[in-house]
């Protein structure tokens, strides 16, 4: 298998999930339990992505400048700061802490 063919196969595989979700019959979604679980799934996945992004590196748990940076982001969100401010502040805090060898 060449690398390019693998890329095409993997892309089709990922797309199949995206498309499949739009093909599921309407009635399935009208059940309150399904929509509730779907909403909670978004919460669970976003939270898992956030946590692995902030606390792991490769296959290891690693606590570094990303942790205080995420706390700053949380404080800014608590005070309703705009999205871009939160993201730029987080990047800035992490970059600054790393300059000082944290």
């Amino acid at each position: 298998m060449t690398l390019t063919i693998a890329i095409l196969l993997a892309s089709a595989a990922v797309y199949s999930w995206k498309f499949f979700g739009y093909l599921v019959p309407e009635q399935f979604l009208e059940k309150p339990l399904v929509s509730k679980v779907a909403a909670l799934l978004t919460v669970a996945l976003l939270s898992a992505l956030m946590a692995t992004q902030a606390l792991t590196k490769g296959s290891e748990i690693q606590l570094d400048a990303r942790v205080p940076s995420l706390l700053v982001a949380a404080v800014l969100l608590r005070f309703k700061a705009p999205f871009l401010v939160v993201v730029l502040a987080a990047a800035g805090v992490a970059a600054l802490l790393r300059v000082f060898g944290f």
């Binding site: 298998m1 995206k18 669970a44 692995t52």
Partner: protein, 229 residues
């Protein structure tokens, strides 16, 4: 949320995510893909987690690991199917736009769309964020691939921290009730604790099981249930 705020948020998410595309482009080239293969991933796969998983496996295992690379990208992409499930009733009627909506159904577009208060803003948020992320992610993937390994470590610029903060910002408006709060805490804990022992992508999928269990059995129900999302 006013219409202008939706636009600003969509653009902000697009730029923030796009910036991370620089490091994807650079990392992909250093993993052994050429510039065009890298660009193909961003255009066709268009799902950050799956793309990073794919190049991560190829970087460590070479051509022999291609089946594993495909499988891990696929597994990490399953959440997009759940996003599609959630977006379908919110975006209708879609018609011929369905294949396009499907390709744009990712963490960020779903995140912005479902954070809006009404139907018009939900749709606007979805399409604008999807389009903005697509444009910035692809153009900055190209820039990153050209820059090669010079920017390969996103941690130097704090971009890894920015990505975590972006996910937190998308999560924040959904945490107003007890049930989603507990789901979020449990999912974060499970994903991190399982990362050292399971293949890339699997801990995130297992963390999603918390939503099935807590939502399915309706545990930790809040006293206020009206209009929860």
């Amino acid at each position: 949320m006013a219409r202008r705020q939706v636009d600003t948020m969509s653009l902000g998410v697009g730029i923030a995510t796009g910036l991370y595309g620089i490091s994807f482009g650079a990392l992909s080239v250093s993993a052994g893909l050429d510039i065009w293969q890298t660009q193909l991933l961003s255009l066709l796969m268009f799902s950050g987690g799956s793309q990073f998983a794919f190049i991560g496996v190829v970087a460590s295992g070479g051509l022999a690991s291609l089946p594993a690379a495909i499988a891990s990208a696929w597994m990490l992409g399953v959440r997009n199917g759940f996003y599609a499930l959630q977006m379908k009733p919110l975006l209708e009627p879609l018609g011929f736009k369905t294949p396009v909506a499907a390709q744009l159904t990712i963490d960020e577009s779903t995140g912005v769309a479902t954070a809006q208060a009404n139907s018009a803003e939900t749709k606007r948020g979805f399409w604008l964020t999807g389009a903005a992320v697509f444009v910035f992610w692809n153009s900055l993937t190209f820039a990153g691939a050209l820059l090669g390994s010079a920017l390969a470590d996103p941690s130097v610029y704090g971009l890894d921290a920015a990505a975590a903060a972006a996910f937190l910002a998308l999560l924040w408006p959904r945490l107003k009730q007890r049930q989603p709060l507990i789901v979020a805490a449990a999912a974060a804990f499970i994903a991190v604790v399982l990362t050292p022992v399971l293949p890339s992508g699997v801990p995130i999928l297992l963390a999603a099981v918390t939503a099935l269990v807590i939502g399915g059995l309706n545990l930790f129900k809040s006293t206020t249930q009206a209009g929860d999302r």
